[in-house]
């Protein structure tokens, strides 16, 4: 266990060394939030509320979902695919740790770094520029914290799956890009799930994507009430456990059929 904690720490320190790269990131996210802020204010026009969210909640939703993205987002699918393609994974496999566990921990170290040096200052800056409605009670913050932790778990699990697919497909760039688009659209980052037509919402209930962005953002903006919150977190818990199964299965098969390309 301690070696995994050490990996979180090392990755955190590594990111800290290059922290200046992140100031521009906050600006980029603010630009995106700004674009959606104006879009949504125009969409709301004179309307009081759409699908249970009023304009102020919607702005908060946009801001928090982008800032939470900085925490759960990672590129381990790309890293894994690269290591498989370059043959580095062979060395990784003989090291005394679980390769996937190690990748997850590195991603977590990165996530924690971005939470403190990106999301939090970013949220402060954004709340000066745009009229946000931050939750005042501590319960909402607690549920939100639990919820974004699960966002990270589920997003990372999906990344592991797409990353491992490089074992089977020689070039999985297309799959990784498709995954990015699907997550942008169906996680609720760009649009709350409740805005979609009913048939689309019904399909999405059977998919894990809304657990990544929609659920934490709805908890934060008070779009969910009491029972809905616990249901939503259980939904996240369910998917974080369920997704372990395909990862283990794919990993077991992948290790057996591994062909190191070149090297």
């Amino acid at each position: 266990m301690s070696k995994y904690l050490e990996m979180i720490r090392i990755r955190f320190l590594m990111m800290l060394a290059y922290r200046t790269n992140y100031y521009s990131g906050i600006l980029i996210y603010s630009i995106n939030i700004g674009a959606y802020y104006f879009l949504w204010t125009a969409i709301y026009g004179g309307k009081e509320s759409i699908q249970g969210l009023d304009a102020a909640q919607m702005v908060t939703y946009v801001a928090i979902s982008w800032m939470a993205r900085a925490f759960y987002f990672n590129n381990i699918d790309r890293e894994i695919a690269m290591e498989i393609r370059e043959g580095k994974v062979a060395v990784e496999l003989i090291r005394p740790y679980n390769y996937l566990g190690m990748k997850t921990m590195q991603a977590f170290g990165e996530g924690v770094f971005r939470l403190f040096f990106f999301s939090m200052p970013g949220m402060v800056i954004v709340s000066f520029i745009f009229p946000l409605e931050l939750p005042l009670d501590w319960q909402a913050w607690c549920f939100f914290a639990i919820s974004i932790f699960f966002s990270f778990v589920i997003n990372t699990e999906i990344n592991l799956l797409t990353g491992i697919s490089a074992f089977f497909l020689f070039n999985n760039d297309g799959l990784m890009r498709a995954k990015r688009v699907i997550i942008d659209l169906f996680s609720g980052l760009l649009l709350p799930i409740s805005f979609y037509p009913v048939w689309a919402q019904e399909i999405m209930e059977y998919l894990p994507f809304q657990a990544i962005s929609y659920i934490p953002s709805m908890i934060f903006t008070k779009g969910f009430q009491e029972a809905e919150i616990t249901d939503a977190i259980l939904f996240q818990l369910f998917w974080s456990i369920l997704l372990i199964i395909p990862i283990c299965a794919m990993w077991a098969v992948a290790k057996r059929k591994m062909i190191i390309q070149g090297g």
Partner: protein, 261 residues
């Protein structure tokens, strides 16, 4: 004439290398399509809950988006220079460029073009066609020339902003993230500028004129007479900014000292 033949020779060379990896090319085109679909889905879903966006209807917004895709595709094809700083300045590749017999910017553009992105022109035309049919838009025979002129202007607007930014590399070779930031700002041009506040609107019109890539030129075809002045400014702004950016580039090239070694 020499430039034209160079251009076609580079295209021929490019096609030969890409045809070797056809599967990659198809994957790239498909994923571009996916990214374009995201914005369309956004517009469609949003208009399930509202009738107008700052006074524009659903199909008008779709038309603007379709128009935006055309110059944007041409821009991504020929001005793929977002990594100019790392690729040419930091790695010292610029030295090689300067020994070539054609203008350095033209040489860089030829080397970096991405013809796959041209597919976006087709997507844009299809999206515009769909919207135009639903809006019962009528076109004059000369509209096709105006369309080409506006697309040309829009492409130059995008291109000039990125050429000017790439030129910063001649002064400082520090890593900057201005380029990705600019891509995000560019997205503001996809929607009518009247939904933004005055400051942003001013910036999008006169400083980083991304509004001339989407909403302004498209408003001509949507017959929004109040916006005609801006629409017809598109080629002017495009040409003006492009000349300016080439001047900045040329000054930068004179200052270029190489990365050492």
């Amino acid at each position: 004439m020499f430039y034209v033949s160079m251009f076609f020779q580079y295209i021929a060379q490019y096609l030969k290398t890409r045809m070797e990896y056809r599967a990659d090319m198809i994957v790239e085109i498909l994923s571009d399509l996916l990214f374009q679909a995201v914005n369309l889905v956004f517009i469609l879903v949003v208009f399930g809950h509202t009738e107008s966006l700052g006074g524009w209807q659903r199909d008008e917004i779709i038309f603007i988006y379709g128009f935006f895709l055309v110059p944007y595709a041409l821009f991504s094809t020929f001005f793929n220079i977002w990594d100019f700083n790392e690729r040419y300045i930091v790695n010292g590749e610029m030295d090689r460029i300067l020994t070539r017999p054609i203008h350095s910017l033209f040489q860089v553009i030829l080397e970096r073009m991405e013809l796959e992105s041209l597919f976006g022109v087709i997507t844009g035309l299809v999206v515009m066609g769909y919207a135009a049919a639903r809006l019962n838009l009528t076109f004059h025979w000369y509209d096709i020339f105006i369309f080409i002129l506006f697309v040309f202007g829009g492409t130059l607007v995008c291109g000039s902003i990125f050429v000017a930014l790439a030129s910063i590399g001649f002064w400082s070779d520090a890593k900057t993230s201005i380029m990705p930031m600019m891509y995000n700002i560019g997205n503001y041009g996809r929607y009518p500028v009247n939904i933004y506040n005055d400051v942003i609107r001013f910036i999008l019109t006169w400083i980083l004129p991304f509004a001339f890539v989407g909403v302004y030129p498209a408003s001509y075809f949507l017959r929004k007479t109040d916006w005609y002045i801006y629409a017809f400014l598109t080629p002017v702004i495009g040409l003006l900014f492009f000349i300016l950016s080439v001047i900045i580039w040329n000054i930068g090239v004179k200052r270029y000292r190489g990365a050492g070694s």
